[in-house]
């Protein structure tokens, strides 16, 4: 995460890959695949909620 490119794009790329895994895994199977999908799709949602709702203490 040290290069300027990764500082800017590292997180968006990671969240994008997780979203793709989440969208595809449930398509190809049930049970464990649905659970994997819930976790991988859940991460971007959690990250979005965390950063938009937190308030930095001064």
């Amino acid at each position: 995460m040290s290069s300027p490119f990764m500082k800017l794009w590292g997180m968006p790329i990671l969240l994008g890959i997780l979203t793709v895994i989440g969208l595809l895994s449930a398509l190809f199977g049930d049970g464990v695949w649905d659970a994997l999908s819930a976790v991988t799709l859940g991460v971007p949602v959690a990250v979005g909620a965390w950063f938009s709702l937190r308030r930095k203490r001064h």
Binding site: P4, G22, F28, S37, V45, G48, A49, S52
Partner: protein
């Protein structure tokens, strides 16, 4: 990025979003209840449940003859004709039958028939009741039929343009900031700019996929027409001079024939003669697999509705397969309750992105006018770098 290209991308982002935002808000708002249409149907008492069988039958439930199932449904509306009958993979005890005045009747009558006893269970509310039906129609075509559908498809394309240009603009805005920075303390506008960027980039892939699959879905009618005029037309070529059907062959026998021809597959739905999924002389028996992915892929078996023999069977063309695979990715109905919930949260996040985008545009327009007034009469305004205007200096 040069100032010039930044201006260009800003212009694309602004106008692609502005044109589609109102419609995207409509789609997000109406889509929200549609994610939970099963649960809402249950709450409203509109869902259909098969009655419990007598104890001696429960262990080995019978399968009713399909011709009896059809006869029960038609007894309610003797003057209507069969359009479709279908079955959900997880509810083999119910046949969903639709009857209409003609094969393309938009005001069809849905009837749920017990697949074990051939008794009518109920007449379910049309499209899940007045509320859900309104949501669905607003979401699909705004009550404007095919033109409405295609229009929303065009708006979906603009959304994709807006998302892509938004990603391009993410870089210059966020270069100096850590991921997820939300500057609460500076100004309301800056806070919403940061939230817009954060939620936009977090929902990026989901919004692209749901947007693109939505656009594909708007082409459903067109793709079906193409399929009818090419593949179906070729399959029924020998029937082009055939006389209209007088007596229909047994549907039960037709389905047994289709199942024997495609072992290991289940019947998804049966299209009756004259509907877009059949021909005037055929039953279209649409078989599908029973696994998560194969259940999305259909294989049509065309059965001569006069004598019950197989006319043809083929794989679906790639564009209909693409349509069928794109549907779950749009609906979010393939991964259980957690997926539904995440779909709803992402939908709400998208509403926030749309709303904040609109807010930023209004604010920026006001400020630009105020600046223009201030600078009027002073020295000619130097061309300000776009970033200086939109960034965090104030």
């Amino acid at each position: 990025m040069s100032t010039q290209s930044l201006r260009w991308w800003s212009w694309i982002h602004k106008w692609s979003s502005l044109v589609c935002t109102a419609f995207m808000l409509l789609l997000c708002l109406t889509g929200l209840p549609l994610i939970y249409h099963h649960e809402i149907g249950h709450l409203l008492g509109n869902d259909v449940e098969a009655p419990a069988l007598a104890p001696d039958l429960q262990a080995n439930p019978p399968r009713a003859n399909l011709d009896d199932v059809i006869a029960s449904a038609k007894a309610l509306y003797p003057n209507k004709i069969m359009m479709y009958m279908s079955q959900e993979l997880d509810e083999p005890a119910i046949w969903n039958v639709t009857l209409g005045d003609h094969p393309n009747d938009e005001h069809y009558k849905p009837i749920a028939v017990d697949a074990r006893t051939a008794k009518v269970i109920t007449e379910p509310a049309f499209e899940g009741g007045a509320f859900m039906s309104t949501m669905l129609r607003l979401h699909v075509d705004m009550f404007a039929g095919l033109p409405g559908m295609l229009f929303l498809g065009a708006m979906g394309l603009l959304l994709i343009v807006a998302i892509v240009s938004g990603v391009v603009l993410y870089a210059p805005f966020m270069r100096k900031l850590d991921f997820g920075t939300v500057r609460h303390e500076r100004s309301t506008r800056l806070k919403w700019l940061d939230l817009h960027n954060l939620l936009g980039i977090v929902t990026l892939v989901w919004a692209l996929v749901v947007g693109a699959t939505g656009v594909i879905n708007t082409l459903a009618d067109v793709l079906l027409k193409v399929w009818q005029s090419t593949e179906i037309a070729a399959m029924i070529e020998p029937y082009k001079d055939a006389r209209p059907l007088v007596r229909m062959a047994s549907v039960d026998a037709a389905v047994k024939t289709a199942m024997a021809a495609e072992p290991g597959m289940q019947v998804g739905f049966i299209a009756f003669p004259g509907t877009p999924f059949a021909s005037p002389h055929h039953y279209g028996v649409f078989m599908h697999g029973d696994q998560a992915f194969t259940s999305r892929l259909y294989k049509p078996v065309l059965i001569d509705a006069g004598n019950g023999s197989i006319t043809d069977r083929r794989e679906l063309p790639w564009y209909l397969t693409a349509l069928l695979v794109s549907q779950p990715l749009h609906f979010g109905d393939y991964g259980g309750g957690w997926m539904q919930f995440l779909w709803a949260v992402l939908d709400v996040a998208t509403i926030v992105v749309l709303g904040s985008g609109l807010y930023l545009w209004v604010k920026r327009g006001r400020r630009a006018r105020a600046e223009a007034r201030q600078e009027h009469g002073q020295k000619a305004p130097a061309v300000q770098p776009v970033l200086a205007r939109s960034g965090g200096e104030r």
